[in-house]
Symmetry: C2
Subunit: 141 residues, 2 copies
């Protein structure tokens, strides 16, 4: 397993810690989440509860879908709906970051992985970019 052994040798951390990740609270209304996603420009971001537990993921298309009406585009429904009502909930989470082979396999179909502790408190994300940087770095050394 050349890739895994080669990654083991590096001790760079590939986790982006929670305080650097843009998130929203599950009780925020969609007008607020629409503004956050427009400002940060990330395609999808984590949704947390008041105790920093990971609850789901939200993206702009999940919100803009509700704005499409026969008469055109309207933002009226957004103020009354909370993100917890429309967020994606079936999200794989990981508890440890040393099984690089599993991380690589997950990142084939996901843009990033959500890292939590044993109480599902949100700890950060592992992104495809960080894994590519790792593979790139190690391929040259």
């Amino acid at each position: 397993k050349p890739i895994e052994t080669v990654m083991r040798e590096s001790n760079r951390d590939i986790l982006i810690p929670a305080d650097l990740v843009a998130t929203v609270n599950q009780d925020n209304n969609l007008q607020h989440v629409f503004m956050v996603l427009t400002k940060v420009k990330y395609a999808k971001i984590p949704v947390l509860d008041n105790d920093n537990h990971f609850k789901g993921l939200v993206s702009l298309p999940m919100i803009t879908e509700l704005m499409m009406q026969d008469t055109g585009i309207t933002s009226r429904p957004l103020e009354a709906i909370k993100v917890k009502q429309i967020m994606q909930k079936d999200v794989p989470t990981i508890y440890e970051r040393d099984n690089l082979e599993a991380i690589l396999r997950y990142l084939v179909d996901e843009n990033f992985l959500v890292f939590v502790d044993s109480d599902t408190h949100f700890k950060g994300i592992i992104t495809r970019r960080e894994l590519f940087k790792e593979i790139n770095y190690l391929a040259h050394n």
Copy 2:
């Protein structure tokens, strides 16, 4: 260079051909592009002209940014603006797909690469997912 030699041995094509890629025409108005991006759910897609030349990339935040006003969210400006006025134009394109090391390096900072011919006609995209599948496949063989 272990990764490159190992990738050379595989002859799977990592290109997603143009006819499978969701695109918009640079003269489409933003109301139309808003609807396409909401339906296909891709974070960013290519913008072409009438002769299938590659012209730029568009994402929902580029559009929703124009909908944010002091009074709230409005879709009124969208019908009168064409996507060519707001699209991202400084996009790296590639002409050949055998230099895997360059592709890997590009995909550290880009979600996908745009593949064109010598006349900048759009031919398809090379995505991070396809490259991960390749690396994953070859790491096990």
